[in-house]
Symmetry: C2
Subunit: 203 residues, 2 copies
């Protein structure tokens, strides 16, 4: 199976194995602070001490995971916006895309959600940055489509993201039936926010 490879390629492959193993380990009942180096090494198929050839400690790996998760979220937003340009309703399409993401990348979203309120100040700050990034991109999009001030767009965007993320948290513990209700609910709540800002502006 494994073909002859350069040393650098081999190393990168092992590094990716560790990252994948970590995401696999970070399920419904494991957080970055409760997970053990040895457990990750076991799943990655390496000796515990070999871990150090790639990361200083689990915290450094954690920051990598948060970065990677944030990257995926940004890609998600792009695909959502692509879908919007084809159909029309921005809110519905965005929520659907987001919910699909949670279904397909459960543990990735879980890391963001969990570490956002987790026990490491560094992780909390890192996730916060990723969320801010998420908010900013939505805000830019809103600014483009609605005729409101930057400030209002920022406020609207943040409120919407908070609502969506909270719904995401519920979705993680929900079955397929509940998921549909959550989607419907959050779409209407986002509509309220949008409508509220519009009304506020016109007042």
């Amino acid at each position: 199976m494994t073909v002859k490879q350069s040393r650098e390629q081999q190393k990168q492959e092992t590094r990716q194995n560790i990252i994948n193993a970590a995401f696999q380990c970070l399920d419904a009942e494991k957080s970055l602070s409760s997970i053990s180096l040895r457990e990750i090494a076991r799943v990655a198929g390496i000796a515990p001490t070999s871990f150090y050839r790639h990361f200083k400690d689990v915290d450094e790996l954690g920051m990598t995971l948060v970065d990677e998760a944030g990257l995926m979220l940004r890609q998600l937003m792009r695909s959502a916006r692509r879908r919007i340009s084809e159909q029309s309703n921005a809110i519905d399409t965005s929520v659907d895309t987001f919910m699909e993401f949670i279904q397909d990348n459960t543990n990735v979203f879980r890391v963001l959600l969990r570490e956002h309120t987790g026990t490491s100040a560094d992780f909390r700050a890192a996730v916060q940055r990723e969320i801010q990034h998420f908010i900013k991109e939505l805000s830019d999009y809103i600014l483009l489509r609605q005729q409101i001030t930057q400030e209002l767009a920022d406020l609207q965007s943040e409120a919407m993201v908070m609502i969506v993320f909270s719904a995401g948290a519920q979705a993680l513990d929900a079955d397929a039936k509940q998921l549909l209700l959550i989607s419907k609910k959050v779409k209407r709540q986002l509509l309220f926010v949008q409508l509220g800002v519009k009304t506020f502006k016109e007042k």
Copy 2:
């Protein structure tokens, strides 16, 4: 210092010591799953094995803590509503009360926030129930003051609570200066939701 007491009194006192010790331990970098029985016992001033005279394990203590934290939140709501009847603006008063609570009972709020997305399904469910309780009480209040349907009141209430809790999460890592900005921000976001529901109803 300690006077002669009945056995039952003494036991309840020790139990409360354990609970207080746990809240004290559950600071910015400890969660219910990362905390150790021995650590709590140390702070509570008892032998590790004495813990079992009061709780089956840390999980059982955890449920007690979540219950207690939820209770405090309900009391908070009552005091907020009392304040509203004196002055007038419901949103501003509620947010101010909430932010004061976070300042005065940081670790209590932290438990709710952290275990809401934590590694124990039981804790997540327990916190979710407390939050639902919180949402329900706000919803009842909204229904009383605004002329809208039950369904709209529920949606509005939940959206508002999600926004407030998210702001609370930010507040935990913020200094006094940022705190004021967060308060201002969240008040306007809540206003958008309220206004949005009103506009939606009238459409």
